[in-house]
Amino acid sequence: MNNSVTNTARLLGAGLRALLVLTVLTGVIYPLAVTGVAQALFNNKANGSEVSYEGKVVGSSLIGQQGYSLDYFQPRPANGLGENSVNTQYKLLLSGATNLSADSKDLLKQVDEAKAKVVKDNSVAGYTVKPSEVPADAVTSSGSGLDPDISPAYADLQVHRIAEKNGLTVAQVQKLVDDHTSGRTLGFIGEPRVNVLELNIALKALVAKG
């Protein structure tokens, strides 16, 4: 009995020592070494790919923003994005999805309402949007709630509104969208996309130039 207690204690001791040495290796040395390399070689990326406009940081090119006025290109809905509920000394972005099911009435309502709004907002004089033309990314929330991109189809749909609101020609705005459309990586990886923040920065610059 006494012997087995001693043996168990010795075994747990070995387990603890193994955990501690491996913690030093994989929990201290490894992340610090990677951070060192990352900060030296990819400084901007390692720190969140911040983007500036006229010398002021206006966000990260990877993190989608909500609240753009209708003068600007609209992002995807983010109904799953939350606010933090603990450690509330901060106001952290709480990434997440709606998790509503494909047969959820709530989700159907969200989709229908978003679609009606997209149709209404983007139908301007001489350009009517049909509900069937609204792409899926314009009416669904992303997995992270922080999707920085929209599909080229959704950007194209907004061109007439943007042109009218900003006193630009449709061709000018369409060129802007085309210039900011990224195709699939190597032609087949992922989907074509437009980064909303970068597009809106370019739009603002174009409007400021007159």
């Binding site: 929990g27 099911s101 494909a102 792409p135 992303s142 699939r184 989907e191």
Partner: protein, 554 residues
């Protein structure tokens, strides 16, 4: 190019990349676990542990090592969270409550990485990096150690010796997981994943105001999260978060990382038992199931049945634009057929059948290709069952790899395949029978039931993904899911190691004309069939109430 074709091309590229590294990585891992030499760094580690890496262990000794190491791991991680508020490097985050700390500690030690917490608002730098990420490494190394012990059971004869647990643990970390993670982490940073130790960033927004996000050692954790088939995200959105998975390329890269070791271990197995063809047969079984599931998932997701998805025009709810439907489908299948549980899109918003496919993937026991190590030993147990069934058909004592599958072996294999379904179904039934656990459901009807079934399937199989609408941060779910994870991880390991011990003691039987040729396609077919039928019979009633009811209604 349409999205379907692009999805197929990504699949082809992924398969090509996996095929390219299969032989070198598999051979390398076989060498790692067979080598007599110790690296200098490893000798320091052994000195720190106070263990002699050359002592051979019997199966009970090997098991005791695993249990002691894991018990200490749970306790350490529990205390780290409970004390977060008073430790430095916490970003000022408070300590985590007892039930959630228990759940999270068990979750990461068992390679599950179920998360009932929101990473970005709960865990500071020290817990994430020195607690959670460490378990990402060592829990994966423990899984590989058990797999290697079982392989030695087949390869050795007339001995009780299965190797040394501490040596297998250290080598798995130092020679396999760590080098791969360093490379992968740097690739991820180069593509935009963040890697810093600064605190909370507050940056301006385009329309004015500001937003706050966490800094952190994200890329380094992301790398081992996938390589070790762990899946616990730094952020709540997991691999859907742009800081964890910034580009279409990183998405494909992360799928590659989470599949590469489980597939390559079949080569390691083949080399160690002296017949790479046996490894190919196991690989073919895993690959057939995985590819079949990917095809089914792509079909149902591109077809986007379900009223809300039909109204939207595509199954993009819970999916990111940069990945799209095709790439998200490959990720979802790969993460649930391994024990990863990382997600780049939210399974709860998949089509009814798509959600069912993710659940079925876990229910198969995560063996195609399965978790790091756990996939291989789970598949070898199924191979024993398949050999047994074949033996019954022809009335011959079954053999596998020259070892007789006798009463003791088949009892252990049967216990192995029964324990996880028992956990899943009993815990799910209990949650449905009680009134409070049901309050945690977000959706109603069949999908609400699916949320609970998914949670216990994920926990008992050590996956970690979720139908995340379920509010799992309650005492019931934190405790019961914690128990399901513990029992679902360590009871099967007991049976596997006991099996390894009894196989190693046998003398090999010679191959004769009557021996079932387990390296042939016929056996692969038998094995695939056995896996699908056994799992199907076990889970069909539960699946019929959840995803099948939802999928067929829409």
């Amino acid at each position: 190019m349409g999205p379907v074709l692009a999805g197929v091309l990504q699949l082809v590229a992924l398969i090509a990349a996996l095929a390219l590294v299969y032989i070198p990585l598999g051979n390398y891992m076989a060498k790692v676990y067979s080598s007599e030499k110790h690296l200098r760094a490893e000798k320091w580690l052994y000195k720190g542990i106070g263990a002699n890496p050359d002592t051979e262990m019997t199966w009970p000794a090997y098991l005791r090592g695993i249990l002691a190491f894991s018990a200490v791991g749970v306790l350490f991680l529990y205390l780290l969270q409970r004390l977060q508020g008073v430790l430095p490097g916490s970003l000022g985050f408070e300590s985590v409550n007892p039930a959630q700390s228990f759940n999270t500690a068990v979750s990461f030690v068992t390679n599950t990485n179920w998360q009932s917490y929101y990473g970005e608002q709960t865990m500071g730098h020290v817990v994430q990096t020195a607690g959670l990420a460490v378990q990402n490494f060592v829990s994966a190394a423990v899984g590989m150690a058990v797999a290697v012990a079982l392989v030695r059971g087949f390869a050795r004869s007339r001995t009780g010796e299965l190797g040394n647990f501490w040596a297998d643990l250290v080598r798995g970390v130092v020679r396999i997981l760590l080098p791969l993670s360093v490379v992968a982490a740097i690739v991820l940073v180069a593509c935009g994943a963040i890697q810093n130790f600064s605190g909370i960033h507050e940056v301006g927004q385009f329309m004015g105001g500001s937003q706050q996000w966490n800094g952190g050692a994200v890329a380094s954790q992301e790398a081992i999260k996938e390589i070790g088939t762990n899946g616990g995200g730094y952020f709540n959105a997991n691999s859907a978060h742009p800081f964890e998975n910034p580009t279409p390329f990183t998405n494909l890269f992360e799928i590659f990382l989470l599949l590469v070791i489980p597939f390559a271990l079949t080569r390691t197995f083949g080399v160690m038992v002296g017949s790479v063809k046996q490894g190919y047969a196991i690989l073919a079984t895993m690959f057939t199931i995985w590819l079949g599931f990917v095809a089914l998932m792509m079909w149902t997701e591109f077809a986007h049945h379900g009223p809300a998805l039909q109204a939207a025009g595509s199954a993009l709810e819970g999916k990111e634009v940069r990945f799209g439907v095709g790439s998200s489908s490959i990720f979802a299948v790969s993460t649930t057929l391994t024990s990863t549980g990382a997600v780049d899109s939210f399974h709860s918003s998949f089509t009814g059948l798509g959600g069912g496919i993710t659940m079925l993937g876990m229910m198969l026991g995560e063996i195609a290709p399965g978790g790091t190590g756990s996939g291989l030993y789970g598949m070898l147990v199924m191979a024993i069952i398949a050999v047994f069934i074949a033996g019954l058909m022809v009335g011959r004592t079954p053999e596998y790899l020259g070892k007789k599958i006798g009463t003791r072996e088949i009892k252990l294999a049967a216990c192995y395949i029964l324990i996880t379904p028992a956990l899943v179904l009993v815990f799910t039934a209990a949650s449905m029978a009680l009134s409070t656990p049901q309050n945690s459901m977000l959706n109603s009807g069949a999908h609400g039931f699916s949320e609970v079934l998914y949670a216990f399937t994920s926990a008992a199989n050590n996956n970690g993904s979720a139908f995340a609408g379920l509010n799992a941060n309650t005492d019931w779910y934190n405790t019961m899911l914690g128990l399901a994870m513990l029992l679902g991880r360590f009871l099967p390991m007991v049976f596997v190691l006991a099996l390894a011990g009894s196989l190693a003691e046998q003398r090999p039987v010679p191959v004769t004309a009557g021996t079932l040729r387990t390296e042939k396609p016929l056996f692969t077919g038998l094995l695939v069939g056995a896996i699908l039928i056994i799992t199907g019979l076990t889970y069909f009633p539960a699946l019929a109430l959840g995803p099948l009811a939802e999928g067929l209604a829409s």
